[in-house]
C-alpha cells in the first residue's frame, strides 16, 4: 500500500460542477489518488453541482476505499449545492460543510453495496 509522501492533494474547483466537467474531475481525482493521495476536494468555490459530478464523488470514495487511500470533502457548501443534494435525496439532514457532507452523503460510507 503506497501512502505516497503523505502530503494532501487539494482540489478546489470553481463554479458549477456540471456534466461538462465530470470527465475532468474524474481524471484530476484519479491522478491524485494514483499519486498516493490523500485527495481533498474543497467545496468553497463550488456554486452548483449536478448528478454526473455527484457520481464522480461517490465513485472516488469507493476507489479510495478499495485502494486504501484517502478522499475527503472540505470547505463550506453554497446554498444551491445544499438545495440540490437535499432535494435529490443524497443527504437527509442539512450539511453545512464538506466534512458534514461526508457524514450523510448516501453511498459515501459504502452503504448500498
Amino acid at each position: 500500500m503506497n501512502e505516497g509522501d503523505g502530503s494532501i492533494i487539494r482540489l478546489r474547483p470553481e463554479g458549477a460542477l456540471c456534466i461538462e466537467r465530470a470527465a475532468y474531475l474524474k481524471s484530476a481525482i484519479l491522478e491524485g489518488l494514483e499519486k498516493g493521495g490523500p485527495v481533498e476536494l474543497d467545496f468553497s468555490a463550488v456554486e452548483d453541482i449536478d448528478l454526473p459530478c455527484l457520481q464522480v464523488l461517490v465513485a472516488a470514495r469507493r476507489e479510495a476505499m478499495a485502494t486504501g487511500r484517502g478522499f475527503r470533502l472540505s470547505g463550506s457548501l453554497s446554498q444551491r449545492v445544499v438545495r440540490k443534494i437535499r432535494a435529490s435525496g443524497f443527504v437527509s439532514s442539512i450539511p453545512e460543510s464538506g466534512a458534514d457532507l461526508e457524514k450523510t452523503l448516501v453511498g459515501w460510507l459504502g452503504e448500498g453495496k
Binding site: D50, Q55, E63, Q79, R86, G89, E96, K113
Partner: protein
C-alpha cells in the same frame, strides 16, 4: 355567497401572515435553512394566488414583487440578512393593512411603493449590482411561479394521496442534456416527498464513465396531484427512463399502526410473502436477515425504511390537523350563550323541584343537572386555545423593540401549550404587550450597562404560562435592573399618592406603579415612561377577573405574574344578599365569613377595621357602598376576600351559599360603574350583580389610606 368565500379567504390570509411572521423570525436566527425559506415563499405565494382570485389586486401585485425577491433567496442568489428580515416583516404588516381595503387609499399604495423601492435597493446591495429601474409591471397572477408550482398550490387543497415512484434513468440519459436532479427536485416539489437515491451501482472511479447515469430513485410522495401530473414531469424523458408509479393504498391499519417493513417489500415486488413468512419465523430483524440472505440490498432496506417513516409522518400530521374543523367564533359564542341559558333554566328547575318536594321531578332535575354540567364543560373546552398562538406576536414585539432601543434581548417562552378561553387570550394580548415593552425599556439595561455589571450582554425576557387550579398563571420575568422601591416611594410622595410618614411594605410600594400616570423612568422614550401602561394593564386584568402581582429584586430583575381565570363565561360564586338585592362574589377570592351583630359593627366605629384571625383588616359595608336604603339587619356577615395582595372584609346582610353562574356582560351604559364586573340570572329569574373584588378593594384601600393620612395630619 362570494362574501362567505371572501371571509374564509381573509381568515386564511391572516393565518398565513401569522405563519409568515413566525417563519421570518425563525429565519432571522437561521438564515440559511432552506426549509424556512421555502415556507416563507409558500406562504407569500398562497397569499398572492388567493388574493388575486378575490380581487385584492393591490395585495397580489405587491406580494408578487416580494415573492420574486424571496425566490432569488431560495435559489441561493441572494443571502438573507437582518435588513431583509426587517423589510419583509414590514412588508407583511403592509399586506395585512392592504387586506383591510377593497381599494387601498393613496398613501397606502405609496407606502407599498416605498417598500418595493427598499427591496430593490437591498437586492442591488446583496447582489452587488446597481439598482435597476422600477420593475416593469407584470400580471401578478401569470408570472412569478411556474405553472407547475401553481398547480401544486392548487392541488395542495385537494385530498392528498401517497404515491410510490420508482425512477431509473437510462444510462445514456446525460447525453440528451437532461438534468436528472432537476426532475427529481421538481417531483419532490409537488408535495411532501421522501427521496432515496440508489447509488450501489456506481462503480470505482477508475471504472466510471462520467457520461453514464448509474443512479435510480425511490420516491414516496404525498400530494394532491394526480398520476398524470406526476407523469407530466417525466414527459420528455419517457423514452430514456424507467418509471413506475403506484398509489399506496393503505397507509395505516385500523389500529393506527404504520405499515410493516415486510409489507413494503412485498408491495414493491422485492420479496415474496412466503419468504417474509419464513424469515419472520426466525424471530430476527427482518431487514437484516433479508440482507444476509441477499434477498434485498441494504439500500433497498434503507429506502423501505424511509417509506415507513414517511407514512408515519403523514399519519401523525393527519392526526393533528386532519381531524379538526374550522368554525366561526360567533357560532361558538352562540353555543356558549345557549348553554348558559340552559344552566340558568336548570337552576330554576332544581329550585322548583326542591319547593314542590316531588320525587320524580327531583330525580329528573338531578339527571338534568349532571348532563348540563357535562355539556357545559364540553362547550367550554371547545373554546380553549393554546396560549402559544399569541406568543409569536410577542416575539415580534421584542425583536422590533430591542432593535429600536439598541438592546440585545432574547425572548424565552414556556408553556405555549397552556389552554385558555379564546376570549381571555384575545384580551390578554394588549396587557402582555405593555408588560413586555416595560421590561424591555425599563428593565433590561443597555449592553454597556450589562457588561459593566458583569451580566450576560443579551438580556432575557421569559414568558411562561401554566395552569394552577381554575386559573392560569402567566409570568413575564426579566433579568434587568428590577424595581427600585426607594425611587418608587419618593415618586409616590411627590405625586401625593402616599404620605411621607407612611410606612409601607415593599409590596405595597410596588402596587403604586399601577397608579394612573405613575412612572419612575427618568426619560420618556417612545416606548414607555409616559406613565400610561401599568394602570391600563391592571384595569384590563381586573376586567378579566384576574390579578397582577409583582416581585422584584433590585439589580437582578423583576417578575410580573398575572393570575387569570380559565374562562370568562362561567364562575363559581358566593351568592349574598344586601338590602334585598342579590350579589355574587367570585368564590376563588373568598377567604372566609364571620358573623357580626349590628351593635358590634357600630362599636367598631368610623375606623372600619376589624380583627380576623389575629389580623386587622379594613372592611366596607356593601349597603353603604351601593347606597342601599332600609334598615340594617340585627346580624350581618363579613365576607373576607383576597384582593390585590391583601384581604378586606365586605359586610353583607346574608350569605346564601355557593352558586355556579353564567356571566352576562353589563350593558355599555354600566361600563363605568365601579365595583361590578357583570350580572347573572338566578334560578327564579331575578338578576344578581357580580362584584369586581379587585376594584372594590382598591376603593376600600384608598379610603383606609385617606383616613390614615387624615389621622396622621391631625397628630
Amino acid at each position: 355567497m362570494i362574501d362567505k368565500f371572501k371571509a374564509t379567504f381573509l381568515e386564511e390570509a391572516m393565518e398565513l401572515l401569522g405563519q409568515l411572521e413566525e417563519t421570518l423570525l425563525e429565519l432571522e436566527v437561521s438564515p440559511t435553512e432552506p426549509e424556512l425559506i421555502n415556507k416563507a415563499f409558500r406562504a407569500m405565494h398562497t397569499v398572492k394566488g388567493s388574493s388575486a382570485m378575490f380581487g385584492y389586486d393591490a395585495v397580489s401585485k405587491f406580494t408578487h414583487e416580494v415573492e420574486t425577491v424571496l425566490e432569488r433567496c431560495r435559489n441561493g442568489e441572494l443571502h438573507i440578512d437582518r435588513a431583509f428580515i426587517g423589510l419583509s416583516l414590514r412588508s407583511r404588516d403592509h399586506i395585512r393593512r392592504l387586506l383591510d381595503y377593497d381599494v387601498p387609499p393613496e398613501e397606502l399604495a405609496a407606502a407599498g411603493q416605498g417598500l418595493l423601492g427598499e427591496y430593490r435597493a437591498w437586492v442591488a446591495k446583496a447582489s452587488g449590482v446597481e439598482p435597476e429601474a422600477p420593475a416593469p409591471k407584470v400580471e401578478a397572477s401569470q408570472e412569478g411561479a411556474s405553472p407547475r408550482q401553481k398547480e401544486a398550490q392548487r392541488r395542495e387543497n385537494q385530498e392528498a394521496a401517497t404515491w410510490r415512484i420508482f425512477f431509473r434513468p437510462s444510462p445514456s440519459i446525460f447525453k440528451d442534456g437532461t438534468k436528472v436532479l432537476n426532475l427529481v427536485e421538481e417531483l419532490a416539489g409537488l408535495g411532501e416527498a421522501s427521496v432515496y437515491p440508489h447509488t450501489e451501482t456506481i462503480p470505482l472511479l477508475s471504472a466510471l464513465d462520467p457520461e453514464t447515469c448509474y443512479c435510480s430513485w425511490d420516491i414516496v410522495l404525498t400530494t394532491g396531484a394526480d398520476e398524470n401530473s406526476i407523469r407530466d414531469i417525466f414527459l420528455f424523458v419517457e423514452n430514456s427512463a424507467e418509471l413506475q408509479i403506484a398509489k399506496i393504498l393503505r397507509q395505516a391499519d385500523d389500529m393506527g399502526n404504520t405499515k410493516k417493513i415486510g409489507e413494503i417489500f412485498v408491495e414493491r415486488g422485492l420479496v415474496s410473502p412466503e419468504t417474509i413468512g419464513s424469515v419472520l419465523e426466525g424471530h430476527k430483524r427482518l431487514g437484516e436477515t433479508l440482507v444476509e440472505q441477499k434477498v434485498v440490498s441494504t439500500s433497498q432496506v434503507a429506502s423501505a425504511l424511509l417509506e415507513q417513516e414517511h407514512l408515519k409522518k403523514m399519519q401523525e400530521r393527519r392526526e393533528t390537523s386532519g381531524n379538526s374543523i374550522r368554525v366561526a367564533s360567533e357560532k361558538l359564542d352562540g353555543l356558549v350563550d345557549l348553554v348558559g341559558e340552559l344552566v340558568t333554566l336548570q337552576a330554576r328547575l332544581s329550585q322548583t323541584a326542591l319547593e314542590r318536594q316531588e320525587p320524580i321531578l327531583g330525580s329528573i332535575s338531578e339527571q338534568f343537572e349532571r348532563l348540563i354540567s357535562q355539556l357545559r364543560d364540553n362547550t367550554m373546552s371547545i373554546r380553549m386555545l393554546p396560549i402559544g398562538s399569541t406568543f409569536n406576536k410577542f416575539r415580534r414585539v421584542v425583536r422590533d423593540l430591542s432593535l429600536e432601543l439598541g438592546k440585545e434581548v432574547e425572548l424565552v417562552t414556556e408553556g405555549a401549550e397552556t389552554e385558555l378561553d379564546k376570549t381571555v387570550i384575545e384580551k390578554l394580548s394588549d396587557p402582555l404587550v405593555h408588560i413586555i415593552r416595560n421590561s424591555l425599556d425599563h428593565g433590561i439595561e443597555s449592553p454597556e450597562q450589562r457588561r459593566a455589571k458583569g451580566k450576560s450582554v443579551p438580556g432575557t425576557i421569559r414568558l411562561a404560562a401554566r395552569h394552577s387550579g381554575a386559573t392560569v398563571l402567566i409570568q413575564v420575568s426579566d433579568d434587568g435592573k428590577g424595581l427600585d422601591a426607594e425611587a418608587i416611594r419618593l415618586k409616590g410622595i411627590e405625586r401625593g399618592l402616599i404620605n411621607a410618614a407612611q410606612e409601607l411594605s415593599q409590596n405595597e410600594l410596588f402596587q403604586l406603579i399601577f397608579a394612573p400616570g405613575f412612572s419612575t423612568a427618568e426619560t420618556v422614550t417612545t416606548v414607555s415612561g409616559r406613565g400610561v401602561g401599568m394602570d391600563v394593564v391592571r384595569r384590563e386584568i381586573d376586567s378579566l377577573g384576574g390579578s397582577v402581582q409583582l416581585e422584584s429584586s433590585l439589580g437582578k430583575g423583576m417578575t410580573v405574574t398575572l393570575k387569570i381565570p380559565l374562562t370568562l363565561a362561567i364562575i363559581e360564586g358566593l351568592l349574598v344578599k344586601v338590602a334585598g338585592e342579590f350579589f355574587v362574589i367570585p368564590l376563588s377570592s373568598v377567604d372566609g365569613c364571620i358573623e357580626i351583630s349590628r351593635t358590634e359593627l357600630e362599636g367598631l366605629g368610623e375606623r372600619r377595621i376589624f380583627s380576623y384571625r389575629s389580623e386587622f383588616l379594613p372592611y366596607t359595608p356593601l349597603r353603604q357602598f351601593f347606597g342601599s336604603v332600609g334598615e340594617e339587619p340585627a346580624i350581618s356577615q363579613i365576607v373576607i376576600v383576597q384582593a390585590l395582595e391583601s384581604r378586606i372584609g365586605l359586610v353583607v346582610d346574608q350569605v346564601i351559599g355557593d352558586y355556579q353562574t353564567v356571566i352576562k356582560p353589563l350593558g355599555r351604559m354600566f361600563k363605568n360603574v365601579e365595583g361590578l364586573s357583570g350580572a347573572t340570572i338566578l334560578g327564579d329569574g331575578t338578576v344578581a350583580l357580580i362584584l369586581d373584588i379587585n376594584r372594590l378593594a382598591q376603593v376600600v384601600q384608598r379610603e383606609a389610606r385617606n383616613q390614615a393620612n387624615a389621622r396622621s395630619l391631625q397628630r
